[in-house]
């Protein structure tokens, strides 16, 4: 507001007019406000609702004496359909999830951050647009298509190149997941770099920094929170991904000893077994419990990402 003087009169006439407004208008406006409010609140409602639903399905087995939580978390014995001795240990699958995610991040983080730095600092405007569109396309490929590529193309290549007995393993799943996480890391990482004020770049350049020195010494420190958030969101994507890893990792329940071992991830296990487990059985409920475990993992990762982003705003 440049000129403060007409302000009070304007407010006054406004107030008079609103007193005379038809009831219908007032009601319509109020219900619209309520609707928008509901839209905003719904996200919380859905998250809590989903968690409660999953928890309700899992609770009977969690609190029964046939089941021990420490065995669930720390045993690698997963025999849900054994006639005599059913065992529900998910350690091997947790290890599977973490090993595939770790490998994927080892590939995706350097690639993704490198691409983000290239797009934001080194390439011309036309190439930048082309790359951004291409990367968005990469993010739009359905995960089952990625899984298909892993199952057919990648697995043959891996058998040929490494001599592994099976081509569907951690390496395969890791590469596929890396390719799926890269677009997220690139687009969020690029946003973080773009958010670095141009004055920092000018300061660095005017002191005689080369482009690389500028990136290393100015931009990365300035954008580190945003870049961390990009990486953590990539991790979140990799942990939660189901269909592609189900198809590409070989689905064998075992603690892996190398990147050419097949594994099964928590997500893939749920997807594969939920349809066969009789509703209400222990097996069925344990699968929901795995859901809660996954929920917890992604929640922690997202919370960490969020806190990293908040770190940016504080400055």
């Amino acid at each position: 507001m440049t000129d403060p003087s007409p302000q009070p009169t304007a407010q006054f006439s406004f107030a008079v007019r609103s007193a005379r407004r038809p009831t219908l208008y007032v009601l319509a406006e109020r219900s619209l406000t309520a609707l928008i409010y509901a839209c905003g609140i719904s996200a919380i409602f859905f998250v809590v609702g989903i968690f409660l639903f999953v928890f309700k399905e899992a609770a009977p087995v969690l609190f029964s004496d046939r089941f021990s939580l420490s065995q669930f978390l720390f045993s690698e014995q997963w025999y849900p359909t054994s006639e005599l001795n059913k065992r529900y240990g998910v350690l091997a699958m947790t290890a599977g999830t973490f090993s595939v995610t770790a490998l994927a991040m080892m590939i995706a983080v350097p690639f993704g951050l490198g691409a983000a730095i290239f797009i934001s600092e080194f390439c011309g405007p036309r190439l930048r647009e082309t790359l951004k569109i291409t990367i968005e396309l990469l993010a739009a490929i359905p995960s089952v298509v990625w899984g298909f590529i892993g199952l057919t193309v990648m697995s043959k290549l891996i058998v040929q190149l490494t001599g592994a007995p099976v081509g569907v393993n951690i390496l395969n799943g890791g590469i596929i997941l890396a390719l799926m996480s890269v677009p997220i890391i690139v687009s969020i990482g690029e946003d973080a770099l773009k958010a670095v004020p141009d004055s920092f770049r000018e300061a660095g350049l005017a002191l005689g920094a080369t482009r690389w020195q500028l990136v290393w010494r100015v931009l990365l420190p300035a954008a580190k929170n945003g870049l961390l958030a990009a990486v953590l969101l990539g991790v979140g994507r990799a942990v939660g991904e189901t269909m592609a890893v189900l198809m590409a990792t070989g689905h064998a329940v075992q603690i892996p000893h190398g990147i050419l071992d097949s594994v099964r991830t928590l997500t893939a296990n749920i997807a594969a077994e939920l349809g066969e487990a009789p509703a209400g059985s222990d097996h069925y409920r344990v699968l929901f419990l795995i859901g809660i475990l996954l929920f917890t993992i992604t929640f922690v990762v997202n919370l960490a990402a969020d806190m990293a982003v908040r770190g940016i705003r504080k400055k």
Binding site: S199, F200, L207, G208, T210, V218
Partner: protein, 258 residues
């Protein structure tokens, strides 16, 4: 002054285009070494553009074309054999908004030393000494000596701007370019920066762009008036303000436009 003052910066036939728009027209000037020279003129007259030619920071936008020559201490900075990094080492720049880097005060001051020398060139003691010397020179040492690890972006604006000057000093520049260095500061801050300019004068050739005619008048030895991309008048500050030769200068100083 017995010997004739040697010009520090000389431009001949300098033209500059932003894409199709010509921002500088045939600028010829000689800037005396060791003095404070101010650049004045209405917005859009090309004074900042001219300033940004002297360390070639204009070139980061790909659409800038420059013709003519600029000699700094005798060397044409547009020669193909000029190393941009070395040029910017000897021609420092202070910006309109203080822009310390988002690292500690200490690292800001030694930033120049670090980027211009391979790692391990300096011992910790040498770096400490450089920081102390630079901060003493700009009058920040007393305030910041115990807070060198503080983030530079958390300082007051005035301190930030002094720090931006301090970080140029370890590189021992010949020229310091200042682009409206006080426009983000209050009266006290402005006075502090002006005093600092006087203290640095002689050791460095200082070029300062300013919107504030009064500042040009009180804080510079020579003054350049520019209008629409052309250099209109360049003389000693007192002469320019008291006896402007060009009627356009006179009108601007009187406040008829601008």
């Amino acid at each position: 002054m017995s010997e004739p003052p040697q010009p520090c910066i000389t431009t001949r036939g300098l033209n500059l285009w932003y894409a199709d728009f010509q921002a500088l027209f045939d600028v010829n000037l000689d800037i005396t070494r060791g003095l404070i020279t101010s650049l004045i003129g209405p917005s859009g007259c090309g004074k900042t553009t001219l300033l940004r030619c002297f360390n070639r920071v204009n070139e980061r936008y790909g659409y800038v074309t420059t013709t003519g020559e600029i000699r700094i201490l005798g060397k044409n900075i547009y020669d193909p054999d000029v190393a941009l990094v070395e040029l910017r080492k000897s021609v420092g720049m202070v910006f309109q908004r203080p822009n310390p880097l988002p690292i500690s005060v200490y690292e800001n001051v030694v930033f120049g030393l670090r980027i211009h020398h391979p790692p391990g060139t300096f011992t910790r003691a040498e770096l400490d000494e450089a920081v102390e010397k630079a901060l003493i020179e700009v009058g920040l040492w007393k305030d910041l000596r115990d807070r060198l690890d503080r983030k530079a972006t958390s300082l007051q604006l005035e301190q930030q701007q002094k720090l931006c000057i301090a970080r140029l000093l370890p590189l021992k520049p010949d020229v310091i370019l200042m682009d409206e260095p006080c426009s983000a500061l209050d009266v006290e801050g402005t006075r502090a920066i002006e005093e600092l300019m006087f203290a640095l004068k002689g050791h460095y050739t200082i070029l300062v762009v300013t919107h504030n005619m009064a500042q040009a008048r009180r804080a510079s030895d020579e003054c350049i008036f520019m209008l629409l991309g052309k250099l209109i008048e360049h003389s000693r500050t007192e002469d320019l303000f008291l006896n402007p030769k060009n009627p356009k200068t006179a009108e601007y100083i009187e406040g008829r436009y601008g």
